[in-house]
């Protein structure tokens, strides 16, 4: 399981070499209307948190082995990260921004609903990533919120395979 967060670290490092921050920040125009430089830099930085958030998700999947609704939600988040054809295609310079914000919102939502204590550093990372959400364009913002809400409600309503002995 931890292989995915390690793989993401490598992928992001390679992407950084190919498209360093100064060029990547300029690419934020494609996904946001904001002109504030600080918001553009934040959007670029947010995607660097993805490997750590994925590592936190992987740890929670192992630790919360008996919490099936939470495990399903976390599994859904990992599947989203794996899928390259998502809301912002992963082959673009800011392709991991949506994955990062969705992981952050999903972790916060899962911890809140399932009354699970998040590690303070993980919580801080999630809150930082979630604070970049208003900088995105309106349709992207709505789609991300809708995805997390629908995933959370769907994973809660699905009956676990573990319910059948």
């Amino acid at each position: 399981m931890p292989a995915m967060s390690e793989m993401l670290r490598g992928v992001l490092a390679k992407e950084y070499v190919e498209c360093p921050a100064m060029r990547g920040i300029a690419a934020t125009d494609a996904i946001t209307k904001t002109i504030k430089p600080a918001a553009r830099v934040q959007l670029w930085l947010v995607q660097m948190l993805l490997p750590d958030l994925v590592a936190a998700i992987e740890r929670m999947i192992v630790e919360q082995a008996d919490n099936h609704p939470l495990r399903r939600l976390l599994g859904g988040l990992l599947t989203y990260v794996y899928n390259p054809l998502d809301l912002i295609g992963d082959d673009t310079p800011l392709g991991r921004v949506d994955d990062t914000i969705i992981c952050a919102l999903g972790l916060l939502r899962g911890a809140e609903v399932e009354h699970v204590e998040l590690d303070p550093d993980v919580r801080a990372m999630c809150e930082y990533a979630a604070s970049a959400l208003p900088s995105l364009s309106e349709d992207l913002n709505d789609s991300i919120r809708a995805f997390v809400r629908d995933l959370e409600s769907s994973t809660r309503s699905v009956k676990s395979l573990h319910a059948y002995p």
């Binding site: 999947i61 192992v62 082995a65 008996d66 099936h68 495990r71 399903r72 939600l73 976390l74 599994g75 859904g76 988040l77 990992l78 599947t79 989203y80 794996y82 899928n83 998502d86 809301l87 349709d139 992207l140 709505d142 789609s143 991300i144 809708a146 995805f147 629908d150 995933l151 769907s154 994973t155 699905v158 676990s160 395979l161 573990h162």
Partner: protein, 90 residues
């Protein structure tokens, strides 16, 4: 002269249809890209994909701690024999 004629026929039968087909597929793909789904609809599709993955992750076995019991000499015991815990993993 015959060689050239065969070559031309060969080209007409292979390269030309292949190129035409490739162009056709490319144009069709570009058209689809233009008329791609709005983001909210893609988010809905994404949920159904993610649900498949979530079921797969939830069905992973939970790691249970494993205890190996042995005697003082380090010999691993089995059944109901009592002994000392040699290792605890998981």
């Amino acid at each position: 002269m015959d060689t050239w004629a065969y070559l031309l026929i060969g080209l007409a039968a292979t390269v030309v249809p292949a190129s035409a087909l490739s162009l056709l597929v490319r144009t069709e793909n570009e058209k689809r890209e233009e008329g791609k789904l709005p983001r909210w609809a893609r988010a809905k599709n994404m949920v159904s994909i993610a649900l498949g993955g979530s079921a797969a992750v939830d069905s992973l076995p939970s790691p249970k701690p494993r205890v190996i019991i042995g005697d003082q000499s380090g010999r691993v015991l089995s059944g109901n024999q009592s002994g000392v815990v040699l290792s605890r993993t998981g």
